[in-house]
């Protein structure tokens, strides 16, 4: 790795010059990021500890206390958590399965790759239309299940609604994740797998003891990416079901969106802060787990 070369000792004057030069190149980006990403974040932090945009009185953690006592917020937080807890592991595991499937010599590999990536391009509007065609009361899924004598239901207004959204999420993101895993698999040293073959290791052993270890940085990345994308699926849910969807679909994004509509910036900012905090904690934990799990294959 060039990391080591980069870290060799240098006189401090040169180090300072190095730093200043990098800063020059980074300056435009830092400026823009400062104005459009960090400043807004500061505003969120400020709004979360004052009592109102008009009086601007410091109230400490009062907004957070009110938020945590708010039943709708708790519902939204639990729903968001439950959705991500189901969708993210599925997105990771199924993407590994797909990547392993394509790794063995399947004919037309690159065509399949293209097909799996195709959901990236489909405009949200037509995704929403098609999901309605599939899952509404008179929709295709009900027609199909009706052949087996199943009762018709309105999927998006039922307890199965979450699964419909999980399906949409997987459809949209699996291809992208799969490419990441295919790249990861290609980087596993072939000799190691050959030795394992000679020693008579089973497929399962090879997978868990060799492949998964080398894939651990990819698993970490795909997990984080899928987590982000599990929040982004709000866009489709919103267009499918509006501001107030079936209870199990009401997520933090709905909550924040509705608070924005109601000009309740205090609750919104407190919710945003909690969400950001949760993200940082989750990412830090994932990093720690990855460090522990993949430590003997790195470096």
């Amino acid at each position: 790795m060039d990391e080591k070369k980069h870290k060799r000792r240098r006189p401090s004057r040169e180090q300072r010059r190095d730093f200043l030069r990098s800063l020059c190149f980074l300056f435009p980006s830092l400026l823009g990021v400062g104005v459009f990403f960090i400043l807004p974040f500061g505003v969120v932090a400020y709004y979360s500890v004052i009592d109102g945009v008009a009086s601007r009185e410091f109230v400490g953690l009062e907004n957070f206390r009110r938020l945590l006592n708010n039943g709708i917020f708790r519902l939204a937080a639990v729903n968001t958590l439950r959705f991500s807890a189901v969708a993210v592991p599925l997105a990771v595991v199924l993407a590994i399965v797909l990547a392993l499937l394509l790794e063995v010599r399947v004919p037309m590999k690159s065509a399949f790759r293209t097909f799996f990536l195709s959901p990236m391009m489909v405009p949200v509007a037509s995704v929403v239309l098609i999901w309605q065609v599939l899952f509404s009361y008179n929709g295709t899924v009900n027609v199909f299940l009706g052949l087996f004598g199943a009762e018709k239901i309105d999927w998006l207004q039922s307890d199965q609604a979450r699964w419909v959204v999980v399906l949409l999420f997987l459809w949209k993101n699996l291809g992208y994740n799969m490419i990441l895993f295919m790249a990861g698999i290609a980087n596993i040293p072939k000799e190691l797998l050959e030795v394992a073959d000679v020693e008579g290791a089973g497929e399962l052993y090879k997978f868990f003891s060799i492949k998964l270890r080398y894939l651990s940085p990819t698993v970490l990345f795909v997990t984080i990416l899928s987590l982000i994308n599990s929040f982004k699926v709000f866009r489709e849910v919103y267009l499918l079901t509006g501001n107030y969807p079936y209870q199990s679909l009401y997520t933090l994004q709905h909550f924040m969106n509705n608070m924005f509509g109601a000009y309740d910036y205090q609750k919104l900012s407190a919710a945003a802060m909690l969400m950001a905090l949760a993200m940082v904690i989750i990412i830090a934990v994932l990093f720690a787990v990855e460090d522990w799990f993949g430590k003997d294959v790195e470096g």
């Binding site: 435009p28 405009p123 037509s126 009706g146 490419i179 295919m182 994004q253 969400m275």
Partner: protein
């Protein structure tokens, strides 16, 4: 190597084919159904999206891949008879192209800064960029609105373009690419008396050409389908991109929606087919979050 049974490979192939068909379905449905006549659309989908147009309506939805008769009425209606869609299509173009160009310019310079910086604070700042990249959009929804208001760019395309151009995503990805450039190459240029700017433009940029292309495609596709930002930051319907407008098409006009969605998909589709190898490489290089 153990020989894979012929049977096993056939099963793998069939599995892949089934998955692929499911993945491809929405794209195919969008394109083929855009060539259906209004009455056929109504007959097939009237059970879900009632248009009140009358005529035969099937009792349940009838998802069909091949139109009975191929007609272009939906396209004529959207592109010729009404100026709205074309206008909004150009809105999208004039929002997304500056974002892509801006993000490439800002990110290539910044990524070079990250690549050449060997200090301790570097990884800290880089991690900070990663965190910002990963923040859900809703976290900064309100403050984005307020900051745009303070800068007097609210309800202008700058409110979309500027935050887009400075988004940390391409900085992150491009830095990963640039770090793979052999350090000796940079060192050699330095000994030959090249200035930093020359090293950047003559060595780094040419080495990263395919990376820039793949990142540009990723950024393009991402912003081409944006919905939330314009909804919040552009209150004028005239200024909104087609991605937002498409989502508001009346339920009774589902045929038109398919046709306009097909038109809208075309640029991403062409880019995708042209640059697929680069795109796949771009995705593959994200690999891990550690810089």
């Amino acid at each position: 190597m153990k020989k894979k049974h012929y049977f096993g490979r056939t099963v793998d192939f069939i599995l892949c084919a089934v998955f692929a068909a499911a993945f491809l379905l929405p794209t195919v449905v969008t394109i083929t159904n855009s060539f259906m006549s209004e009455s056929e659309i109504n007959a097939n989908y009237g059970a879900v999206f009632s248009s009140g147009a009358g005529g035969y309506v099937s009792k349940s939805v009838n998802l069909k891949l091949i139109p009975d008769k191929v007609v272009f009425t939906q396209y004529i209606r959207g592109l010729v008879e009404s100026p709205d869609y074309l206008l909004k299509f150009w809105n999208s173009v004039f929002l997304v192209l500056p974002i892509v160009a801006g993000q490439m310019a800002v990110a290539s310079v910044a990524a070079y800064g990250f690549t050449r910086w060997r200090g301790k604070a570097r990884s800290f700042l880089f991690f900070f960029y990663v965190i910002l990249m990963l923040m859900p959009y809703q976290v900064t929804l309100v403050p984005n609105y307020l900051v745009s208001d303070w800068l007097h760019i609210l309800n202008t395309s700058w409110a979309i373009i500027l935050p887009g151009a400075f988004a940390p995503f391409s900085v992150f990805l491009l830095t990963k690419f640039m770090r793979r450039i052999p350090y000796a190459l940079i060192e050699a240029a330095k000994i030959d008396g090249a200035s930093e700017w020359q090293i950047f433009t003559r060595i780094c940029i040419p080495q990263c050409r395919s990376a820039l292309y793949s990142i540009a495609i990723l950024v393009f596709i991402d912003y081409w389908n944006m919905v939330e930002q314009p909804l919040v930051l552009l209150s004028d319907a005239d200024k909104q991109p087609l991605s937002v407008f498409l989502s508001n098409i009346n339920q009774g006009e589902i045929g038109l929606a398919f046709a306009m969605a097909t038109v809208y998909m075309l640029p991403s589709l062409l880019l995708f087919l042209h640059g697929e190898e680069a795109l796949v490489e771009g995705i593959a290089h994200q690999g891990s979050v550690k810089g």
